[in-house]
């Protein structure tokens, strides 16, 4: 590797050529303060916080974008650099509300941290807001508070480059610039998937989840309600982190314990309905393969993905599996099968979901999702909102005992838990489809080709002579590539898994802040540990799912399944008329 020698704050270091000053400084042990810079995104030199003095250069340079050159002498903390950096932060603050105490990002705000780092203790400039009273609460999932926006453009980059959606963009110029949906209209008026990736990259409190915790507190306090909770696979590898443990801490048992202490009447597991999804979706795939159905079939668990294809590729909706997502299958069964079994009137059952996802809030409100005769799921909370409730309740997470989920809707297999990771639904489906079609036991349950963070993964599975080619995409920009192939007739796959968020649900828009590639890798490892730790690892071996079919549903794709567990989709189109 070619290297160059540079001097940073008096210290000579050898760094790979092409490094930015920021990267070179990190090698030299100097962390230049940044604000708009994000390790996973291509956003640079918007905020001017990382300015440094380069000897011989006419002006201060943005360290995040300026490459080093041989012999370069950089002063990151010279009076000139420090004064400019400080001034730039003060100017950003002069157009930012100074109400940290009331902000949802209090103590998790990059601007607040930066101001603290630089020791800013007074406001020299009178605050003039460009964008007062500009709260967008139009969507069921996300809130945009443009008064807090510092115009870093990270949300624009993630929406365009990672998700291929481009719901947000900069409008106007100079002092009039805002970041908003086209025409400055509300988020619900444009084709936004509500994936919430913008929340993760927003350095401040300008975009955040719609908080539904009060609805859950009220239900828990209502003696007439039987409140049940389901937790998505990705929560057990993230709630520990939200409560201050290391990223990737696997805390399934503590999660169950803490939900009981909050007062839920039953603590169930979305992994159960993930197993059920595999039974339905696996048989749907077999049916399509054997009866000339629309192929490739694409998974339908991820509500941001569903909204994406409804908006941008409505002509391809027939490719979607008709299976509801595990969250919605759970809700439909909680208010029918479980209500019947437990002898509780479904009108008194209140279903709360803990999801890693902001789009799930939208999904549970879709008009199709009332097949039980009631809203199948009443409230969706993100991992962050659950964390908020736990902190308020003062429960000491770290010292909790490990407890078990309740039966029957809490019984699951390893196939259910890997739904939380990209490739997991595919792997779980293959474990079942292989054994159902061939009648043989799988030599190994691990389909490692579909694991990992590669944007698009492919594999071919031999089902006793019939080759099935599959693909897995995560991040909607990757999904878009596959959809274009389908449109051009060049996709020779039979089965495709799509998850909206990078890494799958473990990187979902409702997960703890920060969520980035480094953190996602740790959660990913934890998910596969959870799978390995399960006695049963194939959905069709789940005894509670078997009992459900015997006692209630009959058979996969049967009439009752069709009514309760399957759905249809809506052609939305790209633009509002």
């Amino acid at each position: 590797m070619e290297t160059v020698r540079v001097t940073i704050d008096g210290q000579e270091v050898e760094v790979p050529s092409g490094s930015t000053i920021l990267e070179a400084a990190r090698i030299a042990g100097v962390d230049i303060p940044t604000l708009c810079y994000h390790p996973d995104l291509d956003v640079k030199a918007m905020c001017r916080v990382c300015v440094v003095e380069v000897v011989g250069a006419r002006t201060l340079q943005a360290a995040c974008t300026q490459p080093v050159s041989e012999g370069m002498i950089v002063k990151t903390s010279s009076p000139l650099a420090r004064e400019a950096r400080r001034m730039n932060v003060e100017l950003i603050l002069s157009n930012h509300p100074q109400d940290c105490l009331n902000c949802i990002r209090n103590q998790k705000c990059e601007l607040q941290t930066l101001a603290e780092k630089l020791g800013i203790r007074e406001q020299r400039f009178e605050r003039r807001s460009r964008t007062k009273n500009n709260l967008d609460i139009s969507s069921p999932s996300l809130v945009r508070d443009m008064e807090k926006c510092i115009l870093c453009r990270r949300c624009v980059a993630v929406c365009q480059q990672v998700q291929g959606v481009s719901a947000l963009g900069p409008i106007n110029r100079g002092i009039d610039t805002i970041v908003a949906p086209v025409g400055g209209c509300e988020l619900n008026s444009v084709a936004c998937t509500l994936c919430g990736q913008c929340v993760h990259v927003c350095p401040v409190g300008a975009i955040y989840e719609k908080d539904d915790t009060q609805k859950v507190w009220s239900a828990l306090a209502d003696p007439t309600k039987h409140v049940v909770v389901q937790t998505a696979p990705a929560i057990r590898v993230a709630i520990g982190e939200e409560m201050g443990l290391e990223p990737g801490a696997l805390v399934t048992g503590k999660l169950v314990a803490v939900l009981r202490r909050l007062g839920f009447d039953k603590v169930f597991d979305t992994d159960f309905s993930a197993d059920l999804t595999i039974m339905e979706e696996g048989h749907e795939l077999i049916h399509r393969l054997q009866n000339g159905g629309t192929l490739p079939m694409i998974t339908s668990c991820s509500p941001g993905w569903i909204k994406f294809i409804e908006h941008f590729y409505p002509e391809l909706l027939d490719h979607l599996s008709t299976c509801k997502s595990p969250q919605q299958m759970f809700g439909a069964l909680a208010k029918t099968y479980y209500a019947q079994k437990a002898g509780i009137d479904p009108k008194d059952i209140f279903v709360v979901s803990i999801m890693p996802c902001t789009a799930k809030k939208f999904e549970c409100g879709r008009e199709e999702m009332t097949d039980s005769g009631y809203p199948d799921v009443d409230v969706v909370l993100t991992t962050r909102e659950l964390g908020r409730m736990l902190r308020e309740a003062g429960i000491n997470f770290a010292t909790l005992p490990e407890e078990e989920f309740d039966a029957p809707l809490g019984i699951s297999t390893g196939a259910g838990v890997i739904f939380g990771a990209t490739g997991g639904v595919m792997e779980a489906a293959l474990r079942t489809v292989y054994e159902v079609v061939t009648g043989k036991e799988l030599p190994s349950v691990d389909f490692t080709e579909v694991r990992g963070l590669e944007g698009i993964k492919e594999a071919t599975i031999d089902l006793d002579g019939q080759k099935v080619k599959v693909a897995v995409a995560h991040g909607l920009a990757n999904a878009k590539k596959i959809l274009e192939l389908i449109k051009e007739g060049k996709a020779d796959y039979q089965f495709i898994e799509v998850m909206s968020c990078p890494g799958g649900c473990i990187g979902g828009g409702g997960q703890p802040i920060p969520t980035n590639k480094e953190v996602i890798k740790k959660r990913l490892a934890a998910i596969y540990d959870a799978d390995k730790g399960m006695k049963l690892r194939k959905s069709h071996e789940n005894p509670a799912v078997k009992a459900l079919y015997e006692e209630f549903l009959g058979k996969p794709l049967g009439e009752k399944s069709h009514h309760l567990l399957h759905t249809h989709y809506v052609k939305r189109g790209k633009y509002k008329i």
Binding site: V156, Q160, V165, S166, A167, L168, G169, P170, I171, N172, R173, P181, V182, G183, N188, A191, E310, H311, P314, V570, K571, R572, G573, K574, Y575, K576, I577
Partner: protein
């Protein structure tokens, strides 16, 4: 959210002229700005339906087209008058009497900056420096620059149009 409110393509008033313009520039890098210029030359402004058509034609997100159209002050999303008067609001023009020139225009046309006369003949706007400080105060009417202005002179110019 009622899904019927969305459609995959712009729904009305699409002129093949826009497609012709897109075709003309399509294969060049940075075609967007050229397309916007030509479409604005055709309609006098950039209608929303036209921007959607441009987004589709160039395979760009509408948010990108809209962002560029609102970034440059010479693009307009509103219909304007036949003559667009741009008054320089930079310091040199200010010192040399731009305020008096502005008053004269306002008096003559009975409109304020940002407005268009009822007969759609004139629109009055501010602009940043026109680069002709040597002949300050200056205005631009459509593509033509006028310098060394006085209140009387500017009224004369307006009356001659």
């Amino acid at each position: 959210m009622p899904a019927e409110k969305y459609s995959s393509t712009p729904n009305s008033g699409l002129l093949s002229d826009i497609d012709d313009i897109i075709r003309k520039h399509q294969n060049r890098d940075g075609a967007l700005i050229d397309v916007l210029h030509d479409v604005q030359a055709l309609y006098g402004y950039l209608p929303e339906q036209a921007m959607k058509r441009i987004a589709e034609g160039l395979s760009l997100p509408l948010s990108k087209v809209y962002g560029v159209a609102t970034f440059y002050s010479l693009f307009t999303l509103e219909p304007k008058g036949q003559y667009v008067i741009r008054l320089c609001e930079s310091a040199p023009c200010h010192i040399r009497g731009a305020v008096q020139v502005l008053s004269a225009i306002e008096e003559e046309l009975k409109i304020k900056p940002g407005e268009t006369t009822p007969d759609s003949k004139f629109t009055l706007e501010f602009t940043s420096c026109l680069g002709v400080c040597g002949v300050a105060p200056a205005i631009m009417i459509n593509d033509q620059v006028y310098g060394n202005l006085t209140p009387e002179k500017v009224k004369e110019i307006l009356r001659s149009l």
